[in-house]
Assembly symmetry: C2
Homo-oligomer: 382 residues x 2
């Protein structure tokens, strides 16, 4: 096991009708910016419930944060924060709204262009506190310090991470899953599944607890994912799905083990260039990473095949089967797994490879995935 | 899944030689009370390492906290806290030292006799911040708000719990396990195992994530426990053992599920009356609770038999086998499981049953274990 530090102070308030706890959780004397997306919360009752809980508080609304939240939109909110003297942010929505609100929290304190915290030119040194009401389980953003922001003008999609933007509290009501479109449930399950994989599918370091937790989350997502999709209003399935997505990326299963975020890094480029949903890019790329990096990842692939997929006495000979079973799970979640399924061809592969080459960016748990390897991964997914 | 709130802000600093981080983690301007036990840290080098890290800090030492920390001893430390104007507590030791230090943290702010927070007559309303260096994995106290304190004059052993006494930080160095006596390793593994059981072995509520995590911890402890005992200086085994004991009782696996702390409650009485090690009392009592409460716990007993013990297609007919396999694990950890193994007979059973009767205390996840049921549990363990 590697040395590690783990701390996650986010207060999770989980369960039926817990949005009613908002008035207890929000700081009384704060001036609040209430952020949300493109209006789904006005259709499912969440908006009204939040307004009800906000009675007696001082707040300003900022709606319209898009899927793949944009620097351009978020900078408008940053202006409001400065002008209105906002002291607390309340994000109500899915990963995009919460990620965007994390950027709004940190941006006012960046000297120069806040985009610099995405490119790594600036660090997050201070941030406004934020709380969240999660309406769409997927990214785990409700209990971590990560955010992914897009810059539409340059077709870039980049991430930043800071403990300073971990939510103070997050309210998780599984009932919000009942009205989600199929595609958002599919995306959420697959996103969380790949999050676990990127913290698990590297090489063994004798981390029995972490491996056990990761394997348990993978099994749970494989089991409950199709059930949620076909029984949307089953509270038990929704609650298991929701809690699994939170646990999939809150720092717990990555503590003390190597990580490999190559699938996310490559996937972000597909979203930036073609607008393919985040989770769908992961379902395309992961099988390619497993295929090309099979030697590096051999021991963990076999362990996954045995403990998660239930293959008896697996060996390296089973790796193709293991990849096929993983892909079959994505298909069961109604997610396609080939670039050609989205009309993406070799020209895009070259653009992406060039981007990694220009950035001198090496991926993988051993930082040995250069442009040539990334090209192989993508070509294997045509 | 039941509604729940989960928050655990303790910073874990885990790994080789991490005691060197102390000087970074301690507040610079604090007046520190450095608490420890009966001197084992002076023999294994931890004391010297802590003193080294404390250079430049203002501190007072308080050694001599006993196993089963006593109200009588701890009140002497409370006097020092008041007299010296202590503002931060640093506990270096195992569960007894850390639990005792939690009492020292809370006691100065109790109006009246601080023992009242044990009996429930008073609540913890404020506490000094504390940090820990864990030298003995077992109780999980390094990442929770629980403490168990004994009052020798009345032979009582009681628990209190408050988020205000959760450590600010805990340093966990698995190397400290290398010099532990066998009995402390056995006790630590069995204590953590029973902690998981008391949050797991109730009735199913469709909590896939929590059940998966609990089962994974049970399997890990069963697998690594005997290995640690027979290979004390293997870092990987020690690290897995240590992290499993922390995760076994930090609020995570109990979030959203029913709990049954009857084994602990009955076990505490055996320690209070006969001085039997805490973990050893649990190994005596748990099989009795499984035996007597088999109808209440049937579904979870079968699930445990299948997913943890690996029994194919288990049914209620396997419950005796499931109990026997659990007891066999305790024996493999060199822990005896009968009252008679410790010279305890029927007279003690009556004293314990009378205590529960006098307190009108009902145990179990359905609060249906009254004195008669507790008597049956203990009589089944003679």
């Amino acid at each position: 096991m590697l040395n590690f530090e783990f701390q996650n102070p986010t207060r999770i308030v989980f369960g039926k009708d817990q949005v009613s706890q908002l008035s207890r959780l929000l700081p009384r004397d704060a001036k609040i910016l209430f952020t949300y997306g493109q209006g789904s919360i006005k259709r499912n009752g969440v908006y009204d419930a939040v307004l009800g809980a906000l009675k007696g508080f001082t707040y300003v609304e900022f709606g319209g944060i898009e899927p793949n939240p944009s620097y351009e939109t978020l900078m408008k909110a940053v202006e409001i924060v400065k002008k209105e003297g906002i002291s607390f942010l309340l994000a109500v929505g899915g990963g995009s709204v919460i990620d965007g609100t994390k950027f709004i929290a940190a941006a006012p304190f960046v000297a120069g262009d806040p985009w610099d915290i995405l490119t790594g030119k600036a660090e997050v040194t201070k941030a406004l506190p934020l709380g969240t009401v999660l309406t769409l389980p997927a990214t785990g953003t409700e209990m971590n310090g990560n955010a992914v922001i897009s810059r539409y003008s340059t077709k870039e999609k980049l991430a930043f991470s800071s403990p300073l933007v971990k939510p103070v509290f997050s309210i998780l009501d599984p009932q919000y899953c009942f009205t989600l479109p199929d595609t958002q449930i599919s995306n959420g399950v697959v996103d969380a599944f790949v999050h676990v994989m990127e913290q698990y599918l590297t090489y063994p370091v004798g981390a029995g607890v972490q491996d056990g937790f990761s394997e348990s989350l993978l099994r749970t997502l494989m089991e409950v994912g199709p059930k949620v999709l076909h029984n949307k209003t089953n509270y038990t399935y929704a609650a298991t799905f929701m809690w699994a997505t939170t646990m999939a990326l809150n720092g717990l299963i990555s503590a003390g083990v190597p990580e490999d975020w190559s699938t996310h890094a490559i996937g972000h480029e597909l979203t930036a260039l073609h607008g393919i949903d985040h989770a769908k890019t992961l379902a395309i790329v992961l099988p390619g990473v497993m295929h090309v990096m099979r030697e590096n990842k051999k021991d963990k692939l076999i362990q996954y095949g045995h403990r998660v997929l239930g293959i008896q006495n697996p060996s390296a000979d089973n790796i193709d089967q293991i990849i096929a079973m993983t892909e079959a799970f994505f298909h069961a979640m109604q997610i396609k797994t080939r670039l050609s399924d989205y009309g993406v061809g070799k020209d895009t592969v070259q653009i992406i490879v060039d981007r990694f080459r220009q950035r001198n960016q090496l991926l993988g748990e051993r930082a040995d995935m250069g442009p040539e390897v990334i090209e192989k991964v993508l070509l294997s997914r045509l």
